[in-house]
């Protein structure tokens, strides 16, 4: 198969024009069942040794090769080229949210900081058993759904909240947290990880997710981070955390504006009324300017594009609206 791979390249350390992003096209001939990664490796080996990307396992297990393919984050080694080619072209860009180191390589520091922030290791209160912990196979199989995460960052790349609020723990770290809150061996003798649940309910935690579902779509391993985030919310509520607690949702607004700035205006009201499913109620809360933007076919919160976010930001700055106080404060967060 003949195909052109269109790569968004950049070398932030270079002096010349390549300091800024630019597009380069590589025509290649590849096998019919070749992956996008096979094509990129072929380019790197036969054509252009200056092209940088991470890859290792070629079988969707090491998490190295997440990138945006035709605009959506995914693993290059899991994407068969002929399923994504459009008019003879496949467009490849570095993953989003994280800064570019070079070409398709992004800086994962913030990704790992977030993982470390959730205390990512088993914490069992009390004495360890002499032999193994006795737990059901079902509990372990259930955890496999999350431990199959390969830390590729595809979800982080496409998370609509992280794009505008870097303080959010984000889908990968919260899925990792669930791996412990749902582990019968973590926490007290009933397997309740109370401290974790409380910490995860703080600002930057599970309540900051807008339930946009992007992470679920991006994840190549079926981890479904958003569903895990919702499950942590449920666990927290079961353990007595509720919307009245600390007047969480009435106060959420001010609290969150304080921790991450004005942009949270865009999402806090939404979480208080139950996510995107409650669109009419949501619209009530939206600043007039924002509604206008929406009519102008601006995507709602799901800004895929930093430029759009910047536009929204600028508008807000100009309008300086008073934060509208959410009218419904005690809605179920599960919408």
């Amino acid at each position: 198969m003949d195909v052109t791979i269109r790569v968004k390249r950049q070398d932030p350390e270079a002096d010349g024009e390549h300091r800024l992003p630019y597009w380069q096209e590589y025509p290649v001939t590849i096998a019919d069942n070749a992956t996008v990664l096979d094509a990129l490796i072929q380019i790197r080996e036969d054509d252009d040794g200056t092209l940088s990307l991470r890859c290792s396992c070629r079988s969707a297990i090491c998490g190295s090769c997440a990138m945006r393919i035709n605009g959506h984050a995914g693993l290059a080694c899991k994407t068969i080229a002929n399923t994504v080619v459009q008019d003879g072209v496949i467009t490849v860009e570095p993953a989003g949210v994280m800064p570019v180191v070079k070409d398709l390589v992004v800086n994962f520091d913030m990704f790992w900081e977030k993982i470390e922030a959730v205390d990512p290791f088993l914490k069992h209160m009390g004495r360890e058993p002499d032999g193994e912990y006795i737990v059901s196979n079902d509990a372990m199989l259930h955890l496999s759904g999350v431990t199959s995460c390969i830390m590729c960052g595809a979800c982080v790349s496409d998370c609509t909240v992280l794009e505008v609020d870097p303080t959010f723990l984000g889908p990968a770290a919260l899925a990792k947290a669930y791996r412990f809150t749902a582990d019968p061996r973590d926490g007290d003798s009933d397997g309740v990880s109370m401290e974790r649940l409380w910490a995860l309910s703080e600002p930057t935690g599970v309540w900051d997710c807008t339930r946009c579902n992007e992470c679920v779509q991006a994840c190549p391993k079926g981890v479904a981070p958003m569903d895990r985030i919702m499950a942590i919310r449920e666990q927290a509520i079961q353990q007595g955390y509720n919307n009245n607690n600390g007047a969480r949702h009435t106060d959420a607004f001010t609290e969150s504006v304080a921790h991450s700035g004005r942009l949270d205006e865009l999402r806090l009201p939404i979480k208080s009324v139950g996510g995107f499913t409650n669109m009419p109620a949501l619209m009530d809360y939206m600043p007039v300017a924002f509604r206008a933007l929406r009519r102008g076919k601006m995507p709602p919160i799901a800004h895929k594009n930093v430029d759009n976010v910047e536009a929204v930001r600028r508008l807000f700055r100009q309008l300086e609206p008073d934060p509208p106080a959410p009218r419904v404060s005690n809605n179920s967060p599960f919408g």
């Binding site: 350390e13 969707a60 372990m140």
Partner: protein, 562 residues
Amino acid sequence: MAEVLQHDVLVVGAGLAGMRAAIAARAGGANTAIISKVHPVRSHSNAAQGGINAALLDRGDDWEDHAYDTIKGSDFLGDQDAIEVMCRQAGASLIDMEHMGVTFNRDDDGRLGTRAFGGQRRARTFFVGDFTGQALLHVMFEQLIKSGVQRYEEWFVTALIMEDGQAAGVIALEIRTGELHLIRAKSVILATGGCGRLFEPSTNALIVTGDGMGLVYNAGGQLMDMEMVQYHPTTLAGSGVLISEAARGEGAYLRDKDGNRFMERYAPNMMELASRDVVSRAEQTEINGGNGVDGCVYLDCTHLGEALIMEKLSQIREIGIDLAGTDMIREPIPIRPGMHYIMGGIKTDIEGRTNLNGVYAAGECANVSVHGGNRLGANSLLDTIVFGERSGNHASEFTRDMSFPEFDINGTLNRERRRIQEMLDRPENGDRWSAIRREMGESMNRNVAVFRNEEGIEETIDDLHQLRRRYENVPVHNKGKNFNTDLIFALELGYMLDCADTIAVGALDRKESRGAQFRTDYPERNDEEWLHHIVLTKGDGGPITSELPVTITKWTPEERKY
């Protein structure tokens, strides 16, 4: 000049062996750091699908049975003292891993469950679905975070520094910035994994390039039994990606083009679960005899049922769909033997010590030797954990009352800077690393594979000489500093050529058939002349071989039948 980095114990490699070693060294009180050319969770230990062996005594198993199966699997080339250490320790190490948080599959009583694996008379392979390596690796990384070990992630080691016969540190390239750093150390533990990519194709990840073996070899250390290269019976045509032995462990059949289960003729008792060298040879014999299709035979899982496949083999089913377009629930998958693992490696004792003072090795890059001529499935993860921990313990003890070796730090670093600058400054013409690497891989796979003979091996040795000459002028097209993978691949190729030389020379030297080494010109095992290890050190004209006796404790070598 930037401040000098220094640590009592410096672990090179953050796969299972390296992280286990670092955690142990830190727990022993040593100032410990770990350095890895990829982020730890990207390490190749991820790829292990099937499981990890242990004889749990409270389940009626016996470590001596495990030891015997391992020794028989090794075709009696494994050192029995080392195998005893590993098999005795296995149960405790397994429970440690469970306590750390590994989500092992359970039985109906909520205890750890097992599956059957090749070459063993009872099911003692513990597993997490079909992604055991990934599950272990990520948990080990969690423990590494908890341990407070200093991490140098995406740093590539280019040289091992020896001073007066004592380990003194390493030089490493910080990949993100292109800076070269010297890290001083009182002891260095190499846990750099195997060298699979010097064969083409291979089941191994692209980063598995024999760096640690090359580092030790060039520093005057010993490699051992390098000719023992495992071809796994079930790899996908084309990409060479692995379909785990777990499939056969769960009951899958091997069939020829007419649907016959040909293993009946090669291993009537163990059938598909005979040891890997035996099964791979059987397949290759069938393929060579015209009973395959397009160089493959079939792995048939269709009778296992969708439910079992989805619960226990779902990842490999996905690999089959993604890479071969075949759903194993519905049709047999075409497979063939493919390069998978190296039993040989850096010679160590049971504490992980090499012949170089202060240098340790553990995991696939090491040869203790527990695998001898053929490794049993699921014994390698165990090897990484047991001997990773032991080398970490020993190194932390060893460095306790020791001071840092003194040497000319700037001079050493500058010499290495010049060497690398010289590579970058080469003219851009000439073959790139990729062409040389491919030719090396194809030559190895042609002549130093399942079946070998003198003529073929000599042809490959000639090829390697030519390739090395071309390598000396290999250009680096990327002149930039940040994330210059072009430079790294060129450096890796140097390690690979060193390993390839030792493998080919070892294979030529051993004039018998044992384990993974099958010489069509010497088809019998010959205990009288060849029941010994082959040690390789670097000489002016290539590897120099010498002999070392095999340690035999209580299991006398006997004929091997499955």
